[in-house]
Structure formats: structure tokens, C-alpha cells
């Protein structure tokens, strides 16, 4: 591990270039780490880090500026021209034109952060200022012709706080900028590169991007999720943009088991690469949890249908009502498949683990309940239903029960509201719609009368030390038992994948201790050759966007495997803290647009979509709030 020779990262300057004994300042510095490799010098939006005294800082700065100009959008004079001016001066210095315009560079580097339009422009020239300040001698040597400027190869990394928070690493500032400039079709193209279900994600995503949005420090985050929805809605309401066709046809056939988000994403990308793709789906509909988990008032059927149709029209074959009863690689090879991607999701509800839980029409699993409603089954409402659990499945069940006409709907959750894993908006709307939530209680016994249920006995809980999930462990308070009168109990405490189709031998070689499928992280390969896996069946119940990301990566990994090549993962920089910046955002205050929600009394009578999306004009207006917080890092 090379010792840091100079760092200005995050504004803290450590300069040990002249020290005879290198300062071992490793622990104090917010070091930028390059996984699996070391670097001699690095320049990023937040400063310079140098590990090697011989590093050519002039070349590094020039390489950084060449990359920076690619991201300088052109909508403001100072950033676009400022970068070009500094680069021009440096290129002429390097050509031996003996100009010493260091002052001109300093003026630009000082003034652009004050006057640029976006967060990128305000921060991009900061490290160039560091270079001029702390490595001035090097610049002067080159200007005076005493030293040659080398041309060299540098690696580059571009991200943004929102991009990094997104499990699919979608170019968020990019698609938002296209909306701002009324280029909805182009925005859709960009979104589809990483997210093939924008209408679904635009409604049901947990939006970690919005939590990371720098605009949280001002009026509130940019409505990134709703902007994606606006693009998808626009496509649905106007002329649908078909998916790009593969440029060449490959003869290899790939089998995908499960047409949920992971399966659909993999199928689309593999098809785009030219492979012949067949998806086997057990249910009559595609979409996985998006189809049979999320109720219509959150995700109307036609939205998902449109996005699946578009994938089928692109050439992906989906065989519905076709459950793969037994995964037999040899059989699949005989049928001509070169590889299999298993993406069966996690559709088996886990038991609560209390007495009286044996199956009956009145003691059901949340995921089964939702699936039945989503597939059109009629459910007779009862007087009272109690739902055990605090995640989105529990909330979806509760809000569905309200609409089905259950007179009283109560959620019982063992921790407090703060720890509830369900979406915050879902919890709020459930309460608005009349769902009662009882915190810090857990069931011990379901009181049965034959098939029927009369009550559920619970015990009060208190919160102790954090467990593996990081949340405080619930501990039963002895003797605090109480009964809740109820006619039905819905268990929504967790889901597991159904791995029975792997067979006993398959299960032992493919599954982890937790009942999920084991894979290698970068190749998504299971321990069995030609079998790849991704989505909830690998991670356990997670989010839609994480499943989409695994599908995207699976396609790349399968392609690499079939061509006998290594998966290109790209540079991994860590300890970066993308939200840190040295210049103020300087944003014009703009009111945040919030989505309109149907009034509660209108909602609960039916499954009409509760949240109304933005119109195209509203989306353009909201998109203008994006600060374009692109971060570049260049290194050697």
C-alpha cells in the first residue's frame, strides 16, 4: 500500500511531498480506494490524491479536463467555455508554445464555481484549482519548455449520488435532463438501458435515489420516481416507442425460468444481443411480484401489460402457464438451450410460527391472498381481519382488504413504526384509509373454532439490542398477553423461494443455508455449470429494481460465458462519499412538485390508481430542479 504523498480530498490538505519520513496519515484521510488495484495519482470532483512522487499532475489534469468537457452540457456559458479555455491553455503549453497563462487559469477556476448553472459546473474545476495551487512548479516547467508533458492512458469513473444509490446504476441526471428538454422518447431509451419496466418502477420503486438526492438540502428531493413514470406514461399515451431490435441474430438459445422483473430484464437484454430467448412462466401473467403482489391501486394492470407486450414484440418468447416442474440441465441442452437463468422469485409466504396456524380459508399467507385477488378471484369480506407483519406485503394486504369491504382492518407489527420496513408513503396512506396499526405486539396463538378463527392472542413487545438486520430486537414482555377479536388472520412476515423444482440433489448443490440459490457475485453463476440465477430467489425478498439489476447483469454474464470471456465489471472505487462537495450548490429555489392523490373517500370504494402522475408539462418543470451532480474521477 503506497503512502499518500499529497491529498486535497474533501478540502483537507495533506502535503507530505517534502517529508523525509512519509507521514502515515492513512487512517485520518478520507482515502479514495481503488478495489483490487492501486493508483499513482487521482483527480476527482472533490480533490487530488497522489501516491507517487513521480506522478505527472499536468497530464492528470489535462486528462481530467478532457473527460470533464464531455459532461459539460452546454446550457451555461461559464462551465462549457471555462473548461475549454483551461484545456486550450494547457494543450498549447504541452505543445511547447511557451505561454504562462497560469493566472488566466486561476481566474477561471475561481469564478466558474460561483457562476455555473448546475452542481457539476460548480464543482468540476475545483481540483484543477488544487493542481495549479499545489503543483504550480510543474505547470510552470512545462510552460517554460523545461519539462515535457506526456500523453498517457487514464481510467475514468462517472457517477452521481442518485446513480450510486440506484441498485441498477441508472443515469438519473441524464434521463431527467432529457425530460427537461422535452426529449421524452430519448429519455425512455436511456431509462430502458437499465430499467425495462419504467411504468412499474415509476410507481412502485422504493426510490433510494431520492433519499440520496442533494436537493434534499433545499426544498426536497427531485421527484425522480415520478419523472420516470411520466416518461413511461407519455409513451403509453402517445405513440409507443418500440424496443430496439438486435443488430444481428445469434443462434444460441437461452432459457429463462420466471417472467418476473429479473427474468424480463435478462430476457430483454439477451434478446437485444441477438440470442433466442424463451421464458417459462408458471402463472398466466408476466411480472412476478409486480403482477401478483402489487395491487391495482398502486400499479394498474394495463401498465405492466404494456411493458410486457413491448418485450414480447421485440422477439422474446414467453410461455405462460408453463411451470418448470423439474430443472434438468441435460434436458434443456437437448432442447437446444445453451444456458439457463433461474429467476423464480420468492413467492412462498413464511409462517408466523405461533399456535393455531394450520391452514384454513381464514388463516392465509399474504402473498397467496394478493395473488388470488390479482388473478381475479372474488374474496368475501368479513367483519374483521388482522394482518401480521410490517412490510409492503402486509400494507398491500391491508389496503386491499379496505377496498374489499372488510369492516375493520388491523395490522399487528412486532417493532415500532420507525422500524417498519414498508414504504413510508404506504404506511401513511394505509392509516389515512382507515387501517389500524398496532405496534410492539406479536401473536402467540390463533384461537380457532374448527376452520374458523375467533381471535388472535398477542403479547406486548419491547425493543432491545439491534439484531443482524440492524434493527432493535423485539423482546416479549412476559404476562402482557391480550386478545384481538378477529375473523381472519393474514400472515405477511416474510417470503421464501420455492426451490422444489430443483429436486433434492439440485437443492443440495444449488441452495444456500437460507433457502435461496447460491451464486458467484460477478458472474451470477450457480455451482452447476450453465445455470445462472438472480432476483429474489437469490437475494431473498428484495426490491423490484434490485431484481432488474440482477437481470441486466445476468444477461451480460451469460453473454460473456458463451463467448468464453470474463465479465467486465468496471472500476470499483470505494470510500468516495459522493454527496460530499466543496462548493455550494447555489441553486435557484424552485417549489417541489408533489403528486396528487385521490381523496380517501373516493379511493376505498375501488382499485382506481391512487397516485396521479405528472403531466408532461409538470414533468418538464420538475425536471428543471435536478442539479446535475455528476462526479468524475480520473486516475492512473
Amino acid at each position: 500500500m503506497k503512502t499518500v504523498v499529497f491529498s486535497s480530498w474533501n478540502g483537507k490538505v495533506v502535503d507530505s511531498r517534502k517529508a523525509t519520513v512519509r507521514k502515515k496519515a492513512q487512517e485520518e484521510l478520507p482515502l479514495v480506494k481503488l478495489e483490487g488495484a492501486s493508483y499513482s495519482a487521482l483527480m476527482g470532483w472533490n480533490g487530488i490524491v497522489v501516491n507517487d512522487l513521480e506522478a505527472d499532475i499536468f497530464s492528470l489534469t489535462r486528462a481530467y479536463l478532457r473527460e470533464a468537457r464531455k459532461l459539460s452540457c452546454g446550457e451555461c456559458s461559464v462551465c462549457m467555455i471555462g473548461i475549454d479555455l483551461v484545456l486550450d491553455i494547457m494543450e498549447r503549453m504541452a505543445r511547447g508554445e511557451k505561454i504562462d497563462d497560469i493566472e488566466a487559469i486561476q481566474k477561471v477556476v475561481k469564478g466558474v464555481p460561483q457562476t455555473a448553472k448546475c452542481n457539476f459546473g460548480r464543482n468540476v474545476l475545483v481540483p484543477v484549482g488544487d493542481a495549479i495551487t499545489y503543483f504550480k512548479a510543474e505547470f510552470q516547467s512545462i510552460a517554460q519548455g523545461k519539462k515535457q508533458a506526456k500523453e498517457d492512458d487514464y481510467r475514468v469513473f462517472v457517477s452521481a449520488p442518485c446513480m450510486e444509490a440506484c441498485p441498477a446504476h441508472l443515469d438519473v441526471p441524464g434521463y431527467i435532463e432529457l425530460i427537461k428538454n422535452h426529449r421524452f422518447a430519448d429519455s425512455l431509451d436511456l431509462i430502458r438501458e437499465k430499467c425495462i419496466l419504467p411504468g412499474v418502477i415509476g410507481r412502485a420503486c422504493t426510490h433510494p435515489c431520492e433519499e440520496a438526492c442533494i436537493r434534499n438540502n433545499l426544498e426536497g428531493p427531485v421527484a425522480i420516481r415520478l419523472l420516470k413514470r411520466a416518461v413511461a406514461d407519455y409513451d403509453l399515451q402517445t405513440e409507443t416507442k418500440e424496443l430496439p431490435r438486435p443488430r444481428e441474430e445469434k443462434k444460441e438459445r437461452i432459457a429463462v425460468v420466471g417472467a418476473g422483473p429479473a427474468g424480463l430484464a435478462a430476457a430483454y437484454h439477451l434478446r437485444l444481443m441477438g440470442y433466442q430467448v424463451t421464458v417459462f412462466e408458471a402463472l398466466p401473467k408476466a411480472g412476478g411480484m409486480a403482477a401478483v403482489g402489487i395491487p391495482d391501486y398502486r400499479l394498474p394492470k394495463n401498465i405492466l401489460q404494456h411493458e410486457v407486450d413491448v418485450i414480447e414484440r421485440q422477439g422474446v418468447e414467453i410461455k405462460f402457464n408453463t411451470k418448470v416442474e423439474k430443472l434438468d440441465v441435460k434436458q434443456l441442452e437437448k432442447e437446444g438451450f445453451s444456458a439457463v437463468f433461474v429467476a423464480v422469485g420468492a413467492h412462498n409466504g413464511t409462517k408466523i410460527g405461533c399456535e393455531g396456524e394450520d391452514a384454513s380459508p381464514y388463516v392465509v399467507q399474504g402473498v397467496d391472498f394478493l395473488r388470488r385477488i390479482n388473478l381475479g378471484e372474488k374474496v368475501e369480506p368479513l367483519e374483521k381481519v388482522t394482518i401480521i407483519g410490517g412490510g409492503n406485503v402486509a400494507l398491500d394486504c391491508a389496503r386491499s382488504c379496505i377496498r374489499l369491504g372488510f369492516k375493520k382492518v388491523e395490522i399487528v407489527y412486532r417493532r415500532s413504526r420507525k422500524e417498519m420496513p414498508g414504504n413510508k408513503e404506504e404506511i401513511e396512506e394505509a392509516i389515512h384509509e382507515g387501517v389500524k396499526i398496532t405496534y410492539l405486539a406479536a401473536p402467540v396463538k390463533i384461537v380457532r373454532k374448527g376452520e374458523k378463527v375467533t381471535a388472535i392472542e398477542c403479547v406486548k413487545m419491547k425493543l432491545g439490542e439491534p439484531d443482524e438486520s440492524g434493527r432493535r430486537r423485539p423482546i416479549a414482555i412476559a404476562g402482557s398477553n391480550f386478545k384481538i377479536k378477529t375473523d381472519m388472520v393474514i400472515a405477511a412476515t416474510g417470503q421464501k423461494p420455492d426451490l422444489s423444482f430443483l429436486g433434492e440433489k439440485g437443492k443440495s448443490s444449488l441452495s444456500t443455508g437460507a433457502g435461496t440459490i447460491a451464486i458467484e457475485e460477478t458472474t451470477l453463476q450457480t455451482p452447476v455449470a450453465r445455470i445462472f440465477a438472480g432476483g429474489d430467489c437469490v437475494s431473498g425478498p428484495a426490491t423490484l429494481i434490485e431484481a432488474l439489476d440482477m437481470g441486466n447483469r445476468a444477461a451480460k454474464a451469460i453473454d460473456a460465458y458463451l463467448r468464453g470471456q470474463k465479465v467486465d465489471v468496471g472500476p470499483r472505487l470505494s470510500a468516495l462519499e459522493l454527496s460530499a462537495q466543496r462548493e455550494a450548490t447555489g441553486a435557484i429555489r424552485m417549489e417541489a412538485l408533489r403528486p396528487r392523490l385521490l381523496p380517501v373517500d373516493e379511493r376505498v370504494k375501488n382499485y382506481e390508481e391512487v397516485e396521479q402522475g405528472f403531466t408532461a408539462e409538470e414533468a418538464v418543470k420538475e425536471a428543471a430542479r435536478c442539479l446535475r451532480c455528476y462526479r468524475i474521477v480520473v486516475w492512473k
Partner: protein, 235 residues
């Protein structure tokens, strides 16, 4: 009405007005290149900088985009403002040294402007044509093509869609540098390299508007094209 303070004086501003609009109403001298009262602000030239007090500190903002808020404190002149405006002017002059509109503003803001070589009509990416075409005309033939991650264009540019252009010339009219040129030759109009056939007025027999423009107006208003074939002088 919204009360704000500009340069120490309390002023009544209209709801939704920009600081630039209020300031110019008060006859304050705020330079700009990419602003026009008929279209939305864009903040491209960075010349209209003023300072607004935010959290006790003066912050530079583009006055064209900053909407007035009750109690806002603004100043339109200070060292920081002059430096900011001058930097923007210098950079614009650096890139477009022979564009008259740029030379004029640069000189005014204290940039040392040399004698021009040959007058140039370059595009300074102010975006006025895009906004006029979209917001005033509604044809949507022009788009601001930003540079960005994975984008095809290595330089930012104005994108032109000939299928949507009706040849009205609003872009040429609003362009501050003369980059958008409109040629009239032989009953034809040429703009953005697209050739339009001009319609003749039924009464005076002079060419007065592109046929496509009249068809566009007809589609928008429902008035049949035949009724539009009279020039404004003869109406």
C-alpha cells in the same frame, strides 16, 4: 403583490415575476443575451447575475430565473456581481470574439475587445430559438441537444427537425447573433436548409407566408387554409 427589497429599497413586485423583470422595470441595468420577455428564462449566458440574501449571506443567482418571494433581499451591483458578469462576458468573448452581440456586451462589461476580424454569426447556444419555436409558435421543431454521458454529439448544439418546421421565421427573428438565417428567393424561403414554398396573397399577389405555416395555423385554429390566403396588409 409581493414585497421585496432591491438595493436597499422596498419594492412591490408582481406574483411570479422574476427578479430581472422587476429590476428592469425599475430601470436597473442588468445585462443579458439569452433572455427575452416572450419566452421562459433559461440561464445560459450567466450575464444577468444579481445577489440574493440566503441564510445571511449574499449568493449569486441568475435574475432571469429567480422568482420573487416575499421578503427577498436583492442587490444588483457589487464586486462579486461585477466579477461574475465580467467572467461570463470574458468567456463568451473568448469563444465568440467576432459575434457583434457578444462583443457589444463584453465591451460594456469591461472586457478588452480587439478589432473584429470578420463579423461572425455563430450560435452561442442561448436557446432562444428553441423556446420561441416551442412556447410561442408551438411547432417544436428545435431542441437543445445537450452534451452528456453516452450522448452522440461531442459538442452541444441546437437540433432541427425539418418535419416539424413550418418556416415561420420566429427563430430567425429572435436569434441575437444572426446565426439563424432566413433567405427569400424566387417564391421560396430557405431556413435551416429547408426549402419552403411561399403562398401568394389572393388580393395583392405578393408572396407572404410559407404554405406549411398556413397549413399549421389551419390545423391549430380550424380555419380552412383558403381563408388564410390573404396577407396581413390586405386584411
Amino acid at each position: 403583490m409581493v414585497e421585496i427589497t432591491i438595493d436597499g429599497k422596498k419594492v412591490q413586485a408582481r406574483e411570479g415575476e422574476s427578479v430581472l423583470e422587476v429590476s428592469r422595470r425599475l430601470k436597473k441595468d442588468i445585462p443579458s443575451l439569452c433572455y427575452h420577455e416572450e419566452v421562459s428564462p433559461f440561464g445560459a449566458c450567466r450575464l444577468c447575475m444579481v445577489e440574493v440574501k440566503e441564510g445571511g449571506k449574499w449568493q449569486l443567482v441568475t435574475s432571469c430565473q429567480q422568482v420573487v418571494e416575499k421578503g427577498m433581499e436583492v442587490r444588483t451591483d457589487s464586486d462579486a456581481i461585477r466579477e461574475g458578469r465580467r467572467l461570463a462576458a470574458e468567456l463568451l468573448y473568448y469563444k465568440y470574439p467576432n459575434v457583434p452581440a457578444v462583443r457589444e456586451i463584453a465591451q460594456k462589461l469591461g472586457v478588452a475587445v480587439k478589432d473584429e476580424a470578420i463579423e461572425a454569426n455563430e450560435c452561442i447556444l442561448c436557446g432562444l430559438c428553441v423556446r420561441a419555436c416551442r412556447e410561442v409558435v408551438g411547432a417544436e421543431a428545435l431542441t437543445f441537444m445537450d452534451r452528456g454521458l453516452g450522448r452522440e454529439n461531442a459538442e452541444p448544439e441546437i437540433g432541427f427537425n425539418p418535419d416539424k418546421c413550418i418556416g415561420c421565421g420566429s427563430c430567425a427573428y429572435i436569434c441575437p447573433t444572426g446565426f439563424v438565417q432566413m433567405e427569400a428567393v424566387d417564391g421560396k424561403r430557405i431556413i435551416w436548409d429547408k426549402v419552403f414554398h411561399m403562398a401568394k396573397c389572393k388580393i395583392c399577389n405578393r408572396y407572404f407566408a410559407p404554405i406549411e405555416q398556413l397549413e399549421f395555423i389551419s390545423r391549430k385554429t380550424g380555419v380552412p387554409v383558403e381563408r388564410l390566403m390573404v396577407c396581413t396588409s390586405c386584411r
